[in-house]
């Protein structure tokens, strides 16, 4: 496959970036999108040019570090996959592919296609945990009965890998899907109820402080999320937030 890549290049956080065009040849349909970028980088390095910097770690769809806005969609045109699992067979010979970093004020570009997603870490740190004493007297989690439906919903929410595609897809760069998944996974379990009030208030406050936008319920996040996190989580977080605010 012969392709034309238009890739965002930016030296550092302060520099002004631009799209640069790179023709590439010999791409197989079985390669992943990141392997295609590896081929590109090998060529650039051999020519003595700066390789394109992009984030990746597990390359099996579980760590959430790969990102990339590919032809106007986070993680590209396929559904329920991360960029590392996106296959080149989704593209055709002769295609032009535009590759940009995830864009949000709260995700500043570090270099080329790599953005700083530590705003997500700070939202997690604001309440995405339960306080348990682990110094020798831990209680077995199975001693607390949990209804099957709630356990399943909680596990579904917990599959969020924190990739940021929801923010990237949203016209408002809103982090509601991510934050609501992190709120929901605890809100649905008895262990999480104890700190539920402070959790939702603190996590939403941090989300707002980081400069993410407001939710317009367009649903773009749900469609682009590689883990299929549902909009119901956002409604649940809104409910949690409202009742927490009324409690004071």
């Amino acid at each position: 496959m012969k392709l034309t890549l238009k890739i965002w290049r930016q030296k550092n956080n302060k520099a002004k970036g631009e799209l640069k065009t790179y023709p590439i040849d010999g791409i197989e349909g079985d390669m992943s999108f990141l392997e295609m970028l590896d081929v590109l980088n090998e060529g650039l390095i051999n020519k003595g040019e700066e390789p394109v910097v992009f984030d990746h770690d597990c390359r099996e769809g579980i760590c959430g570090s790969c990102s990339l806005q590919i032809n106007g969609e986070p993680h590209g045109p396929d559904r329920l996959v991360t960029t590392c699992q996106l296959h080149m067979r989704m593209f055709n010979d002769g295609d032009t592919i535009v590759i940009e970093p995830f864009r949000a004020k709260a995700f500043p570009v570090i270099k080329d296609l790599v953005v700083d997603r530590s705003s997500f870490d700070r939202i997690q740190q604001a309440g995405g945990f339960i306080s348990v004493n682990t110094s020798g007297n831990t209680i077995d989690a199975n001693s607390i009965p949990v209804n099957k439906h709630d356990a399943d919903e909680s596990f579904n929410a917990a599959t969020c890998i924190g990739c940021g595609a929801c923010v990237a897809a949203c016209k408002n760069a809103s982090a509601m899907l991510f934050t609501s998944a992190k709120v929901s996974q605890f809100a649905l379990l008895p262990q999480g109820r104890i700190e539920a009030t402070e959790r939702v208030l603190n996590m939403v406050a941090q989300m707002d402080k980081e400069g993410f936008g407001n939710c317009t319920n367009t649903g773009a996040c749900e469609i682009e999320c590689p883990k299929g996190i549902s909009l119901e989580n956002i409604a649940r977080m809104n409910r949690e937030y409202l009742s927490a605010s009324l409690e004071g």
Partner: protein, 218 residues
């Protein structure tokens, strides 16, 4: 206004004011449709609305506050949302994951706002002048002829119809979105969505029908 300092609180306020306007719209439609069914009923209802103390001095100010609040909050959200992505994408395929109506509430809203300007100029200001400035004697039969006269103009009729199309788009997304904003998403939501989308088409289409009917039955 401290309570409106969080993103979720702002969205709930948006939803509540939007739902209030949805209710008002249904009431407005009910009165207007009588103009094509029975002009006498239309005259009587208009006279009642125009001279009832509760309607004029309690419901009307609340309504005006609701509209102003809704569009100012919509503007605040729009500005904040634009600010949350300062460098835009070279390629952004919104159509792949969301509807045009949901992404362009500010555009449909702005058209409705412009329409409201025209609508106030057409009906509200003349009414206020007629009743409170000129202190004309009561006349319960003047409303239908005045209405008919307004819809003589093809330009005005066209502008009204255009605004109703944008209103339909605004409600297509907005009416069901407001329930999600208030945290209501459960097994009834699919049915509710069907109802909200029926409303979003039926009411604006009804207003278009009234405008065209009056225009062609001069």
């Amino acid at each position: 206004m401290a309570i409106l300092s969080s993103s979720i609180a702002r969205k709930v306020a948006m939803a509540l004011s939007g739902l209030f306007l949805v209710l008002f719209l249904a009431q407005h439609f009910t009165i207007n449709i009588t103009s094509v069914i029975d002009p006498d009923t239309f005259n009587n209802l208009s006279h009642f609305m125009g001279h009832n103390f509760v309607v004029q001095f309690i419901a009307q100010p609340i309504l005006i506050f609701g509209v102003v609040f809704h569009f100012i909050m919509g503007l605040v959200l729009e500005i904040r949302n634009r600010n949350a992505r300062q460098i835009s994408y070279n390629s952004f395929k919104g159509n792949k994951n969301s509807t045009w109506a949901s992404r362009n509430m500010i555009i449909s809203g702005a058209v409705i706002l412009a329409f409201l300007g025209l609508h106030f100029y057409d009906f509200w200001f003349p009414e206020i002048v007629h009743k409170y400035v000129e202190s004309n004697p009561l006349d319960a039969t003047r409303y239908y002829p005045e209405l008919l006269h307004k819809f003589e103009s093809p330009v005005r009729t066209g502008l009204y119809c255009l605004a109703f199309v944008l209103l339909a788009l605004h409600l297509w997304h907005g009416f069901s979105s407001s329930f999600q904003s208030m945290g209501w998403n459960n097994k009834y939501s699919k049915g509710l969505r069907g109802f909200t989308q029926f409303y979003a088409i039926f009411i604006p289409l009804g207003f278009i029908f009234i405008a065209l009917y009056l225009h062609f039955n001069q």
